[in-house]
Structure formats: C-alpha cells, structure tokens
Amino acid sequence: MAIPASSTTERTVTLSPSGQVALRQNVRRSAWRWPAIVSPQLIIGSALLALLIIAAIFAPILAISPPDEIEPVQRLLPPSPEHPFGTDQLGRDLFSRVIYGSRLALQMSVLSVALSAIPGIVLGLIAGYYRNWINIALTMVMDAWLSFPGLLLAIVLVARMGPSLGTTVIALGIVGVPAFYRLVRNSTMSARHALYIEAAYSMGFSEARILFRHVLPNLASPIIVLTTLRLGAMLLAGGGLSFIGLGAQPPDPEWGALLAAGRDSMGRAWWLATFPGLAIALSVLGFNLMGDGLRDALAPDQKSRRSHKPKVRRIERWLAVARGLRAGGKQSDQQAASSMNQG
C-alpha cells in the first residue's frame, strides 16, 4: 500500500512518540535531498536521449544519402565504412534510414504522450479537486478504459481508422489517458488539503487559478517522471504496431516497419533485422533510465515507487503541526481514507 502522500501532516497530528520520530525523520530527509540528483541512470539515460534528439534534428547532415534514395546496384550490401549499417533490398542505405527514423520515433512518442497527458491531467485535476459525482463518474470511465489491455485497444482503434502513422499516434494517445488521469487525480486528492490550497482559496482566487497555478505546479515532478516513462513505452508500442503492419507503412523509415521489412531477408542480410531494433532498444532504454533517474532524484525518500509526495515547505509543515494539534485525530481519518483510495 502506498504511503499517503501527505503523510507528514498525518504523522504529526498524532502525538504518540512514534509520530514525533517520524517527523524528525522527515526533516532529516529533506537535508540530503539534492545531492542524490545525479545518478548513473540519469547520465546514461540523458546521453542516449541526447543521441536520439541529435539524430532527429541533424538527420539531413548525419545521413549518408537521402533515406528513400534507391540504388539497385547496391542491394543488400553488408555493413562497410561506406554503409555502416549495410543496405536493404532496394539498395537504400540503412544507416540513413535509421537516422531519419529517429524523427518518426520522436514524433510518434511525443505526440501520442501529449495526446494522453493533456486530457489526463486536466480531467485528473478536476476529479481530484472536486471529489464529488464528477470524480466518481470520471473514475468509473477511466477504470473501464484501463480494464482493457492497452495494446489491444490500440490495435482495435487502428483497425477502425486504418493503419498509418497518424492513427497509431491517436490510438496510443487515447490508450494512455487513464495513466495520467490516475496519477494526477490521486496526487490532487492528497494535495487538496494542503495549507497552500487553503491559503489560495482564502485569498479569493478562482478555482481554475488554484488548480492550474497552485495544484498543478506541485504535481510537476511525478508528471515529468510519468511522461518520460510513457515516452519510452509509446516508442516501444508504436514500433510493435508498425512491425505487425498496423502502424507506419513501408516507405516510411519507421524502425518497427524497417524491422518488418528486414524480416523477409534476414537469412541473407542479418543487419536489416538488427540495427533498427537496436535503435528502438537504445531509445527506450534512454527514456526508461531517464525516468527512473528522475524519479529517484525528485523523490529520493520513495525510491522506485510510483506514488509521490508533493513538496511541502518546512514552514507549512510546522503550521500543519499546529493545526493538527487543534484538529485532533479527525484529520488522520481523512488522510487514511485518501491513502486507501490511492492504493
């Protein structure tokens, strides 16, 4: 079961000895928060991603020839200094195609994650903040959504709309909405009772302003982590869809499609079925490492856990202690309820 996100306040309202110990631990934790930021994962991950982004931006410079240039004389050449990854059935340079493929890979993952993040975040904020029938209705819909294997849903959507890179993006985007919704809703529900929300409310700010200017920035770090991890997952899923022919279509140098094309002649040309896959694997590895590294860096007290603790400033924590003393045990019940919803 996840630790309730605002456990600080909960622990301090109980005046038992253990509660006080927990409080001291929290204060100590915040002291070694920052040095832990740079980890090997983060370095390797960002290096791999930098490679991907450089390849995408400078594709015309890096590529040896245009990705669609056909040279029938140079069919199925093994890797050589001239063609580092060899050439394909039509004499196209595989290295250039893989380089150009990075553009498609980035487009696909970034667009589909944006498609799932934006509605997911907005709906999650609304549901988590109001906690009334909107919350119940939205959560029911999202649970139904989630109760369906993601890739299957994507395949069905692609089947409906016809296979192309665009439909892949839309399908993957739709599939990913509940992931963001759940994260944002749960975090919002626990941030809902934080003092800064109360303060903003008492200053007469509109609810929209509170949600987007006060709640949302405090959820930034879990959202960033999830986004990074989703980017990798989408790249993998999109490659898979293209591979079975339901994503990007052959002339496009999408990595999954390249692998599918290389499959037919892999007995003669091992490179065709190797390098595009390596590109996918390294990119996904980059996103995963980056995501894990960011998670540890942004929430070192909850290593390798998916739930996150919104940042609570120290002064707020002490104010919460004072408030908790007055409120007695009432608040802890509420916290326990919200933590149950999280689990």
Partner: protein, 296 residues
C-alpha cells in the same frame, strides 16, 4: 463487471460494420445494387441499436458471435480453436517468467550489493527496454537460421514453442524480477521479520513463512494484470512465429476487414481480462486477510 464489458462491446460494435467491410468483399467494381443486397444479407442496413441488441442477445443466450465474413465459419468456433493455442503460449510464458523472475528477484534481494543483484538489475533494465519483436527476430536468426536448432515458424512440436515462449516471457520476467526484489526487500526490513528472528527462528523458516509469503502478495496482483499484457503481446509474437492463435487471427482479420471476427475476439479477450481482474482481487483477499476485511 458485466456492465463494463457490455459497454465496451457496444463501443466496439459501433465501429464494426464500417462500409469498408462489404465494399471490399464485393470488390471494387461492384455495383451499388450488389452492395445494397450484400448489406441486407449481412444485416448491415439496420440501425446500430437494433444490430447491437440482436448481437447481444445472440451472444448472451446462445454464445453466438456471428459468422466470419471471409471464411463463413462460426466466429465462436473459430475463436475457440485459436484460443487454445494462445492459452498454451501464454501459460507457458507465464510459468517461465514467474519461475525465473521470482527466483532472480529473491536472489537479488537476499544478497543486496552483490554482483548477483547487479546482474539481475541489469537484466531488468535491459529486459524492459528490448522490443519483443526484435528479440524474436534475433533469436530466429541465431537459433533457427544459423544454428538450425529450432524451426522458424509454425506449430506442432514442442520445438516450435521455445522461441515464442521465451520472447513473450522476457519483459514479464523483468517486471516480475524487479517487483519481487522490491517486495522482498520491503518485507525483509519489516518489524515482524525482526520479531521472527529474535524469537529464534532459523533463516530458512524466517524466509519461508515470514518473508516469501508476505512478499508474494503484490506479485499475484501484478501477474493477474500482466496476463492481459501477455495476451496482447501475443499479437506481435504470434504474427512473427506464425503461431495459429488468437492474436494472429485478429491481425489477419483486421487486414481482411473481417469484422465479426475482430469484434468477437476483442470481446473474448475483454471478458478474460475482467475475469483475471476478479481472480486477482479474490486471490489478494485470500492471501492478505486485511484486504478481505476491508474490501469484501
């Protein structure tokens, strides 16, 4: 649960009888008249709600999911025979990933900071990043084409199952290993384990009764949920290896625009997924008495 499935059924059926289905069937040069006749024959000219209701009553009362447009066979029959194959593959992959993943996770957690742990964690990171279809291709190249040990595609003997199972199991194994390690480490540090040790239980007993038992709870939850992912993973794996299962059937049906088959298969998978979710909840409640009291 039924509500959810029925809702999804409806949503799916809404798109099912798309015009492409019969224009493709009748051919490019078919006259408008022919198409209209065909539409009538297939019942596609009725309004959506009517179609949905008749479909639903057929499916619920008689287990009748309609006929395949391409082969003219009963969808339920077709699904039945393909599903067995997929089930075999999925179960094999589950067993494989559970046994290896659990073992690796426990070993890694038992010796924190060892090379073994580093190795397992490396495997986890890499296993999660590798695309299954790429691994499948590489294995085909190495084991089938170069070494000639295993057949490339098809089904029949056990040798046909090795490569699909391994490639399907790889990501799940990594997930299981990571979760088991985290879970065991979590439980190892818990108070009740310290108590067990301090009352004089030996290491084996502590592990068997106090650590492993408790750390398996999240694993059960995860496996139930992951079976659904395995099922969708079979789409890709079955296509690569020519395994005559549900996934390949659906992919083929999508290309043929054989929509009754697609709808039937999707509903079948959705129902299985729901049952799995329920089974997970029940197993969870059985293993963890606290959950039982709160939730049931």
């Amino acid at each position: 649960m039924l509500l959810v499935v029925s809702f999804l059924t409806y949503a799916l059926l809404e798109f099912a009888p798309s015009d492409a289905a019969f224009t493709l069937l009748a051919g490019e040069e078919a006259s408008a008249e022919q198409i209209a006749t065909l539409r009538h024959e297939l019942g596609l000219d009725k309004p959506l709600a009517v179609r949905y209701l008749s479909f639903l009553s057929g499916a619920v009362l008689h287990g009748d999911l309609g006929q395949s447009i391409m082969s003219g066979r009963d969808v339920s029959e077709l699904l039945g025979e393909r599903f067995v194959n997929t089930l075999i593959l999925t179960l094999m992959a589950t067993v494989l990933s559970l046994s290896i993943g659990t073992l690796a996770g426990i070993l890694a957690a038992a010796r924190p900071g060892s090379f073994l742990e580093a190795g397992v964690m490396f495997f986890v990171i890499v296993g999660l990043a590798l695309p299954t279809f790429w691994v499948a291709l590489l294995m085909i190249m190495v084991f089938s084409l170069h070494l000639g040990w295993l057949p490339v595609v098809g089904a029949g003997t056990w040798t046909h199952m090795v490569l699909p199972t391994v490639s399907l199991a790889l990501p799940t194994t990594a997930v299981v290993a990571r979760l088991v390690r985290a879970s065991v480490l979590d439980v190892k540090g818990a108070d009740h384990v310290r108590t067990a040790r301090s009352k004089g239980l030996d290491s084996r007993q502590t592990w068997q009764y106090h650590i492993l038992r408790n750390s398996m709870i999240p694993v059960i939850t995860l496996i139930g949920l992951h079976l659904g992912h395995l099922l969708s993973g079979t789409f890709i794996i079955e296509t690569i290896f020519g395994w005559p299962g549900l996934g390949r059937l659906v992919v083929q049906a999508i290309f043929d625009r054989d929509l009754p088959v697609v709808v039937g298969a999707v509903i079948l998978i959705a129902v299985i997924f729901q049952i799995l979710n329920l089974a997970v909840d029940v197993a969870h409640a059985r293993l963890d008495p606290r959950v039982g009291r709160e939730a049931l």
